[in-house]
Amino acid sequence: MQLKGYGRLTPERLNATFAALADPTRRAILTRLAEGEASVTELAEPFDMSQPAISKHLKVLEKAGLVTRGQDAQRRPRRLEAKPLAEATEWLERYRKIWEGNFRRLDALLDELKRTHKKSSTTR
């Protein structure tokens, strides 16, 4: 039952990814890294947070494989790893489509019910 092309996808890895994504600061860090690599100092700038606090968030992101460290020994720039994100998105996307289909039909049904509801209450 593994997803095609994602042979190493495991529940553990997915859970780590989703846990990492659950925090708004970590999502903001990822958004920033999507524009290009950045050092811890640069990443801490827009947040009202200490560098150690940011480092803690980065550790969670690194553990989930969402962020890696660049070669520059001085800056130790962090960069975004796109693959785990894509995996997590695909994992939920298939499921989402199923329910979205269900709910779109339910929308149409509810519209119809509202119409008949109105009709019957006006004829009353």
């Binding site: 529940p11 859970n15 939920l92 199923i98 779109r104 149409a108 049904l109 519209d111 019910l113």
Partner: protein, 163 residues
């Protein structure tokens, strides 16, 4: 398509999947659509070729419910369980088990309806017996069990709505 952006899916913990969706209708109508066999048969359907052949449900706590779908090649898929808790227009807790168990154990489904300004938010929480079971449900999504594509039926209901 109107409400596509109002849907969220999250995995609040290891064993659960939570879906929320806003419907442009009062909650009495949503509850009706979730608990009336003739109505369920029009939207809780399979992909092209699937029809809902059995739909037995009554919104009463302690009662059993049973759903079956049939594909035009003769394949039958069934599931059922017990409605543990029913609060009219508000909340329903049910158990769910498929005949051919494609995930281990039984799931507990909680559906709640909250209405605001004539719009209703449905929250469905599916709690599985293990993380593995939950992940199987999501990963097998489009192909097994309730994981069926629904595109053509979407059109059907749209045409019903237009009629």
């Amino acid at each position: 398509m109107l409400n596509s952006d109002t849907m969220t899916i999250t995995t609040p913990n290891d064993r659960e999947i939570e879906i929320t969706r806003v419907f442009d209708a009062p909650r009495t109508l949503v509850f009706k659509a979730l608990t009336t066999p003739e109505l369920l048969k029009t939207w809780l359907l399979g992909p092209p070729g699937w029809t809902m052949t059995v739909c037995e449900i009554a919104p009463k706590a302690g009662s059993a419910y049973r759903f079956e779908w049939r594909k035009d090649d003769g394949t039958v898929m069934g599931m059922g369980g017990v409605l543990r808790e029913v609060i009219q227009d508000e909340r329903m807790v049910s158990t769910e088990r498929f005949d051919t168990s494609w995930y281990p154990g039984e799931a507990v489904i909680t559906q709640s309806l909250v209405e605001k300004n004539g719009r209703t938010t449905l929250t469905m929480t599916m709690r599985y017996e293990s993380r593995e079971a939950r992940d199987m449900v999501v990963q097998s999504g489009a192909t097994a069990g309730m994981g069926m594509g629904y595109d053509r039926l979407d059109e059907l209901l749209l045409s019903l709505g237009a009629a």
